[in-house]
């Protein structure tokens, strides 16, 4: 008995007909991606991943594949990375990514990064994982030599930093990783106390890396933490290292690949945003409609009740870091709300739930309604539901929803939910903490909208204040987050690292603009980002994005007014806008047309638009404008 993380128990087991299904998928290039994603959402072993990855290779070489691929990842490691390559390529599909993975011949790390003509540097990779462990860095033990230990760690850290910056110079996002501790100790219990031991050096390196990675423009893969969870004796396989320089045990490779994929997915804005909770036997033990308020199990010293309380605690903690909570339950509304209102042990209250769906419709319909109310994609939802039949129905109808498998024992619900990594994040800003509240206020605004007779009256009643500022150090992390996460209202979907965002702050001829919006229901935080670059007498609008939470509030119009005013002050002649279709931003295809721009070039995949400043008068907007 135990929890085997490497088996990824939140995923349904691989289907018995995996190979025939893969064969059928290969025969139909048009439907391949959907079928392959369906297979990838199961727990696959190395061989299944290998077969799936080979099929992906063949498909990527086809016309349909070439059109769909949007991600290239390279892995540079000091061990053998070939098995990881196929594992990751198959796993990317599980996380909504269509990408290829490349590895260099064995042992090439520095050469690939530093030689401008290397295969890596000609590969135009988006992400480069520096998969180094203690054997790939100059971490020579020096037990008892405190000063030397500090120098050794600094040298190793500098080496990783130089590699990461080399990767960033080529325009890719570097991913650095902490080093798993080694299980073999020299001093026993003193090992991590004596400076300069292998264990102490690894600890010191990891601490320094966790401190510094963000300032180098990197993403962090905390492999040390992952290996700790798996268990160091299980993570390190001395037979496989001796046999083929495989840096970790084969059993752990699919899990490792999943962690890489979820980090990249988060950086690409594909992390989930909302946790949808079933109620009976998920949030509490028992069935409220049958057992009544006094009969359901919650806390009260009952083992089952404690386990369900732990689910509530985890949900609240997720909410505090910005995950929106919703409820979907087959119940009468008043009955389902009963415990939230009256049960003394309930930690979750109605005010924590942004959308409450208790009815007798099927779960898939309710999930669609929740996504629509919150104005997020169905692929941003996770459903926690103890009922295998409901899970199967949702997986069938809405395969893009994250639906963790749950074991019989509710004591494992929380662990399975969190271990699945649906809510991976590449940063944490003050805005994140407010987010769940903002979504709830949005639902309240929607209610007000329903009760107001016309849009103008509704917008006036919101008492909005839009605050404009140039890019600055305070906003930098949130700006970068929006640039990398926003998919729908994003005219060009250009992704920038924090270092590139910082460069815009210093671009005197251009303009980086951050916009915040508050109203009588609360502060929406930063909701829009613009980047303009000077091109002769024009400003070229390189980036225009906005959070969909503030759609239809005339923020675009207000933004254009301010852009025109700024451009005029500088004596510019025109604004030039661009739309690049990404497959997800169809809602803004006519953005510039709606704002009165005239088309310069119109194509299927992109268009360019122009606005003469001379003929433009600012339009009235239903909000107060402030500059800060």
């Amino acid at each position: 008995m135990g929890y085997r993380l490497t088996a990824m128990p939140w995923l349904p087991p691989a289907p018995g007909d995996f190979r025939p299904r893969l064969k059928a998928a290969r025969a139909e290039p048009e439907g391949f991606l959907r079928a392959a994603q369906g297979l990838a959402r199961h727990a696959l072993d190395l061989n299944a991943q290998h077969s799936l990855s080979r099929a992906v290779d063949d498909w990527l070489a086809s016309t349909a594949g070439q059109a769909a691929v949007s991600l290239r990842v390279a892995i540079l490691g000091n061990g053998t990375t070939d098995l990881l390559r196929s594992a990751l390529q198959a796993t990317l599909l599980r996380h909504g990514l269509v990408g290829s993975v490349w590895v260099p011949p064995f042992g090439q790390v520095a050469q690939q990064v530093l030689d401008p003509a290397s295969d890596l540097n000609r590969s135009d990779s988006h992400f480069v994982l520096l998969a180094l462990d203690h054997r790939g860095l100059p971490l020579q033990p020096c037990p008892g030599e405190a000063a030397q230990a500090v120098a050794v760690v600094e040298a190793a850290l500098a080496q990783v930093r130089d590699l990461a910056q080399g990767v960033a110079r080529q325009g890719a996002t570097p991913i650095v990783q902490t080093l798993p501790a080694v299980p073999d100790t020299l001093f026993g219990h003193l090992d991590r106390s004596v400076p300069g031991t292998q264990a102490a050096l690894i600890d010191a390196f990891n601490q320094a890396l966790r401190r510094d990675f963000a300032s180098w423009g990197c993403l962090l893969l905390d492999v040390a933490a992952l290996a700790e969870r798996v268990g160091l004796d299980d993570w390190h396989d001395p037979v496989q290292w001796a046999h083929g320089k495989f840096p970790l045990a084969m059993e752990a490779v699919p899990l490792y690949a999943d962690h890489i994929a979820r980090l990249i997915a988060a950086a690409r804005g594909k992390a989930r945003k909302c946790l949808v909770l079933d109620l009976d036997n998920t949030v509490w033990g028992g069935v409220i409609g049958d057992d009544g308020l006094g009969g359901i199990l919650l806390g009260q010293g009952s083992a089952v009740g404690e386990a369900h309380l732990a689910v509530q605690r985890a949900a609240l903690q997720l909410r505090e870091r910005g995950i929106v909570l919703a409820v979907s339950s087959k119940n009468d509304d008043a009955v389902a709300r009963g415990p939230f209102r009256e049960h003394p042990e309930m930690l979750l209250k109605e005010e924590h739930i942004a959308v409450f769906q208790a009815n007798w419709l099927d779960k898939a319909s309710n999930l669609r309604a929740i996504a629509q109310t919150l104005n997020i994609g169905v692929d941003a939802l996770v459903l926690l539901d103890d009922n295998p039949a409901e899970r199967a129905q949702v997986r069938q109808e809405l395969p893009e929803v994250g639906v963790p498998e749950l074991p019989e024992d509710p004591a494992y619900f929380t662990r399975n939910l969190l271990a699945a990594g649906y809510f991976e994040s590449t940063g944490f800003t003050a805005e994140d903490r407010e987010r769940a509240e903002q979504y709830r206020s949005n639902a309240m605004r929607a209610a007000l909208e329903g009760s107001t007779s016309n849009v103008a009256e509704y917008l006036d009643s919101l008492a909005m204040v839009a605050t404009f500022s140039r890019f600055d150090a305070v906003g930098r992390a949130r700006i970068t987050q929006l640039i990398n996460k926003t998919n729908q209202f994003n005219l060009t979907t250009r992704r920038y690292t924090e270092a590139q965002v910082q460069a815009v702050e210093d671009d005197a001829a251009g303009l980086g603009l951050q916009i915040r919006l508050a109203d009588r229901f609360g502060d929406n935080g930063m909701i829009s980002v613009i980047v303009c670059r000077a091109e002769g007498d024009d400003w070229f609008i390189d980036t225009w994005l906005m959070s969909c939470r503030v759609l239809n509030r005339k923020v675009e119009q207000a933004t254009l007014n301010e852009l025109c005013a700024q451009a005029r002050q500088r004596g510019l002649r025109r604004l030039v806008g661009e739309y690049i279709a990404s497959g997800r931003n169809g809602m803004v295809a006519e953005h510039y047309a709606r704002l009165g721009f005239t088309p310069l070039e119109r194509g299927e995949a992109s268009s360019r638009w122009v606005l003469e400043l001379a003929g433009h008068a600012p339009a009235p907007v239903p909000m107060q404008i402030e500059w800060r």
Binding site: L46, T80, L83, V239, H243, G244
Partner: protein, 81 residues
């Protein structure tokens, strides 16, 4: 000498490992006979055998076998058959 059941199991595992549904394990089969049986596939093969059959192989065993017949015999020996 090895029992037929071992060959059946080997066939199923080798099809998964080498991504080829036409493979049938035979005693005289070697890595030369299978296109995709390279050193990396060999590693996956032994991992799959360990996971699928519940046996463990040493470093020496993984690189010292001449053909599938020797592999089947070793598996039977490990399983006490």
């Amino acid at each position: 000498m090895s029992n037929a059941n071992t060959y059946e199991q080997l066939t199923a595992i080798m099809r998964d490992v080498f991504d080829d549904d036409d493979i049938v394990a035979r005693a005289d089969m070697t890595a030369e006979d299978v296109d995709s049986w390279d050193s990396l596939a060999n590693v996956r093969l032994f991992v799959a055998l360990e996971q699928g059959l519940g046996v463990r192989f040493s470093s020496a065993e993984m690189s010292g076998l001449k053909n599938v017949g020797e592999l089947a015999a070793l598996i039977d020996k490990k399983r006490g058959g």
